[in-house]
Symmetry: C2
Subunit: 326 residues, 2 copies
């Protein structure tokens, strides 16, 4: 089926369905929730009955999304014939098994290149910075006018999944669609406040602890920070809250590689590696049984924090020495 007729089929299915169940992935983020809610609100405006499912509760920072209060952690009863999955690479991301899809019409809307195409109709576009880019196109083709609630959901989805237009998935089209959404008349200040100004105090305390260990090595090209079990306990932060902290080290002038070592248990050190322009940190992580991407990778070492730090820093310093000849 070519792209055009696939889209037309999906539009036809949704138009026909009296009732649609929507699904989004565990540990929900701005894109899966915003995209799911936007489709649902659009379908409701066409008179359909809609349910919203997510295995987890909506995180505090996203409860402002219009319709968020309707997202449920229980499966819809009775199950409607038409099921739409949003931003889910596979069914495990929704904590479901293939059994659940029996006797259903399954539409799968996603922007992950690794999508498993588990639906009967799979609209997968890995060029989209967010699922919301696909959803905006879908809603436009459904003939539904984008109102403020729908636009707020889609704008939030794009901003969160594109890292506020800074990630490499951002395209000219991302900005063009964003313009279309802003034109509806959004309260950008309030949306940005809801998205960006909701840092848990525990996370700021983790940052404080990490910065207190900041050390530059290799002539300022390597920045290292670490967090001990005690830091996590004292700040009351879960391990997830340390995500992203490594960027405070990566963004220092002259730094090519940044490392954050986290003591998550006795003799259990999780290491996050980020590089800016050239060092392949995937190769560094691989030396310790880990992996990832060229610019972002990780590994876990079962040694003390001091030993982990020494080993990883040595490997990085060697990588920096070998340099671009590599």
């Amino acid at each position: 089926m070519n792209e055009h007729s696939l889209t037309a089929e999906i539009i036809a299915i949704l138009r026909k369905a009296p009732s649609v169940a929507l699904f989004s992935h565990v540990s929900p983020d701005g894109d899966c929730l915003g995209s799911m809610l936007a489709i649902g609100l659009a379908l409701e405006s066409l008179g359909k009955t809609v349910t919203f499912f997510n295995p987890d509760p909506v995180p505090a920072g996203l409860t402002f999304l219009p319709g968020a209060e309707r997202v449920q952690q229980v499966l819809p009863q009775p199950k409607p014939q038409t099921l739409v999955f949003v931003d889910c690479t596979d069914l495990r991301r929704v904590s479901l098994t293939p059994d659940y899809l029996r006797d259903s019409i399954v539409v799968n809307i996603d922007h992950h290149i690794s999508n498993q195409r588990f639906g009967h109709f799979n609209w997968v576009d890995d060029q989209a910075s967010a699922c919301a880019e696909i959803v905006l196109s879908l809603i436009n083709q459904l003939g539904v006018t984008i109102n403020r609630d729908i636009a707020t959901n889609l704008y939030t989805a794009i901003v969160t999944d594109s890292g506020c237009f800074q990630y490499s998935n951002t395209t000219a089209n991302t900005h063009r669609l964003t313009a279309e959404l802003i034109e509806v008349g959004l309260n950008l200040a309030l949306i940005h406040h809801n998205i960006f100004d909701q840092k848990p105090l525990a996370q700021v305390k983790l940052l404080q602890a990490a910065l207190n260990t900041l050390e530059l090595r290799a002539g300022g090209r390597l920045a290292v920070m670490s967090l001990t079990l005690e830091d996590f306990q004292k700040s009351g932060a879960q391990q997830e809250l340390s995500e992203g902290l490594v960027n405070h080290a990566r963004s220092i002038q002259g730094v090519e590689v940044a490392v954050l070592l986290k003591e998550v248990g006795p003799q259990e050190i999780k290491i996050g590696l980020r590089s800016n322009l050239w060092l392949n940190v995937n190769e560094i992580a691989a030396q310790f049984g880990g992996g990832g991407h060229k610019r972002a990778a990780g590994c876990t070492l079962n040694v003390s924090l001091a030993e982990a730090k020494q080993g990883v820093c040595q490997a990085i310093e060697e990588g920096l020495e070998i340099g671009r000849d590599h």
Copy 2:
């Protein structure tokens, strides 16, 4: 003169001029430099001789801008007849006096509402998030094709002046113009690295020092941090580097007001105030002889750091008590 004929006049002047001198403001930022360089490169492609003036050197974080190496701190000799000022509210922003404009044709391109309209032709649009929005329109009307160097300058200008599309000056048009620039084929990863990953180490050390003093008051609605003279000396940071640090406190969940107190001299405390949604910090600052805007204000107190903190926090706590009835 209406807007349309004004633009046409400016285009005609630039087309006719064999030589153009461009000027941008002291303490140059991404918008004034990027916009100035973009116009200059466009005019050069039309065969004109162009000079670029700024009273200050290009900051390290902006030397990647195409053409940045040509920005001079000496006035052009001989002075061409056509002078174009970019992003300058008045002549003092360029360290010049009205005398300098004698016998010249002066074009003034700006987006500040406070622009003094000191030119013969003043293209001032306070709806533009960055001067670069006006400049892109200008270059398009000159009939010059936007190449990668011009687009890199304009994209950087927009991203820096709109706070990466987060400030309230961002409009649908900002995103539409950005799409046009990205379409030229920009290396977004490299540009973002140059813009965002150039934090001086001294600034990160100031953040560390400030976070070590972080205190929540008024049931978590007020977040206070302070920096001593010793913190500035130890980190080697100039006072300017502390700009923006207050936002780390402002963006904590539940916080409405954030304060950063800076000891800039003995008994000389500079205070920065930021609020999120409703408290008018301009009124708070005014109680201490300062001022600013509703959401960002400041004042200076000639007392000890401890006294300043106590006084300002008390005023804020009272403001929070009176609350929205106000």
